[in-house]
């Protein structure tokens, strides 16, 4: 089997594994829709007070809410991707089996996570978005190119998101129980990705800093492409840069871990 086909099979496996839990998916759709509703009302009050805040008009701000709720699980900015499983395997020592496989550890988990993210996008993302589009006035593009550009940005966001979570998971090689670290990074990521408030609304220097961090490649970047607020190529370059940096860092951490760290024995 060619290695491309191997990782494709892993990705398909990741997709199908998450697709198994239908009730959980429905429950998630419901929860994201409720959170979307709450955010829409608070944003409406905010934009009523200050129209064109952060360069968005109200319809764009409301669209941003639904993009965020739709990508919430896909990007796993609140955790819940494959990294929790990877962390557990490192803690228990099962990771030794993974290292023994004739496949690259990082690519294997990237493929599994992309499969998962793909399912979450279809299974959990589409429904809240359609609900938002039916109930509220959204600023959606009418041309196919913008939608295609948006999907490209989402795909890159998935890779950046994995890059961050892979590093978090690998910290378990040194910490053994990385749950505390994972929790801290996730909540930081949740805030810094603009899940609560769009990053272009953040004031002054804080705004400038958060907009350069890798988390801004997750939600803000695709949302701005969809809203026609950012140039797709520039956005791709920014996301691609973080994807490369994070994956390279993950590879280095992986190398250091497998060379030096003694695995947890069973």
């Amino acid at each position: 089997m060619g290695s491309g086909r191997l990782y494709l099979a892993v990705a398909v496996g990741g997709f199908r594994r998450y697709a198994t839990y239908r009730a959980a998916t429905l429950a998630g759709v419901f929860t994201n829709t409720v959170f979307g509703l709450i955010l829409v009302y608070t944003y409406t009050a905010l934009w009523d007070e200050k129209p064109h805040l952060g360069g968005y008009d109200l319809a764009q701000a409301v669209t941003y809410v639904w993009v965020g709720q739709s990508l919430f699980k896909t990007l796993a900015n609140g955790g819940g991707g494959v990294e929790s499983e990877l962390m557990e395997r490192i803690r228990t020592g099962d990771i030794a089996v993974d290292l023994y496989r004739p496949a690259d550890l990082q690519l294997w988990w990237l493929a599994a996570d992309l499969g998962r993210a793909g399912f979450e996008l279809l299974g959990r993302g589409v429904a809240p978005f359609v609900f938002g589009a039916l109930v509220f006035d959204l600023a959606l593009p009418t041309d196919v190119t913008t939608w295609a550009a948006f999907l490209g940005a989402v795909l890159l966001a998935m890779v950046v998101s994995f890059g961050i979570r892979y590093l978090v998971a690998l910290s378990a090689f040194w910490l053994l129980d990385a749950k505390g670290v994972a929790q801290m990074v996730m909540f930081t990521g949740w805030f810094c990705s603009g899940m609560i408030l769009p990053l272009n609304v953040f004031p002054g220097a804080l705004g400038e800093v958060v907009r350069t961090l890798p988390w801004s490649a997750l939600l803000q970047a695709p949302a701005d492409v969809l809203l026609g607020h950012a140039d797709p190529l520039g956005t791709y370059a920014f996301q691609g840069m973080w994807a490369v940096v994070l994956l390279a860092a993950g590879r280095m951490a992986q190398g250091a871990a497998t060379r030096r760290v003694v695995l947890q024995g069973g």
């Binding site: 129980d177 801290m184 408030l197």
Partner: protein, 273 residues
């Protein structure tokens, strides 16, 4: 009375199991401080978001920052108390799935008490600490025309709010007997509920406010009593005395949630493994 002795039994079991979990948590002190700090940081972020909003505007839905902080502090603290006491109830679906609920059924203590105390997470003190900090900030900065009645009402609001959220946790767990995998639905009402209550009621559509007043009475956690204390218009044009209803609403909710719990437990069929 048989019923009272069951309650006493339940509380005793709850106390013993939580004490055990606290001892076990304290065995890993560093981990405890990390997760508590994580819990505190996590909840701080949504208040920081509110601060950021107020860096761009002076009012949100006619409420100033200290007034929103007042709503936030009450909602977060009440929710934090309920989460500390009963937050573990959300693991019920998992226990039903993997069959470990059966272990609880054969022990000589009420299942509700065992489930509530299961994996008792002392780290949840982080959320309460953060809620109280915001509440103290609000009390120091907000302009309230204090009367003895309003002062007396404050602790009542917190305890009743915790009771109402506690009922939501129990009802959510009862629902998991039926829904199993769908445990996330209750997040919409617990985490979603507390998030919603952190913002002024004037921000939301009237139907939504009606829903959380008359159907799922979350508005009694803070909106109705807090608008009275703040001297702001009470939502839906309700009379002032609704501000004093939270204890009754909390008792009613807990009774209903208890019934739902019993119905759920009775309908439970083990997976058999």
């Amino acid at each position: 009375m048989a019923d009272t002795s069951r309650v006493v039994d339940g509380l005793r079991a709850y106390r013993m199991i939580t004490a055990m979990w606290i001892r076990s948590t304290m065995a890993y002190r560093a981990s405890f401080f990390m997760t508590t700090l994580g819990n505190l940081t996590a909840t701080t972020f949504d208040f920081v978001a509110i601060l950021l909003m107020f860096s761009r505007v002076d009012e949100l839905g006619g409420y100033s920052l200290p007034q929103v902080a007042f709503l936030y502090g009450l909602s977060s603290t009440a929710f934090g108390l309920a989460d500390l006491a009963l937050g573990s109830m959300e693991n019920l679906g998992r226990r039903v799935r993997d069959g470990t609920l059966d272990t609880l059924l054969v022990r000589p203590a009420p299942v509700l008490a065992q489930m509530g105390a299961d994996q008792f997470g002392l780290r949840r003190l982080g959320r309460i600490t953060q809620g109280l900090a915001v509440l103290i900030y609000a009390l120091a900065t907000v302009d309230i025309d204090w009367t003895p009645l309003k002062l007396l009402l404050m602790p009542v609001i917190l305890v009743s709010g915790a009771g109402i959220f506690g009922a939501v946790f129990i009802a959510g767990a009862a629902f998991q007997f039926v829904a199993k995998d769908a445990s996330e639905v209750q997040n919409a009402f617990t985490y979603g509920g507390t998030t919603m209550l952190q913002y002024p009621p004037t921000v939301f559509a009237t139907e939504l406010v009606r829903g959380v007043t008359f159907v799922l009475p979350l508005a009694f956690v803070n909106w109705l009593p807090a608008t009275y204390v703040l001297g702001m218009p009470i939502p839906l044009g309700l009379p002032e005395w609704v501000a004093f209803l939270p204890p009754l609403v909390a008792v009613g909710c807990c009774a209903l949630a208890g019934m739902a719990w019993r119905a759920g437990l009775r309908s439970y069929q083990s997976t058999g493994n």
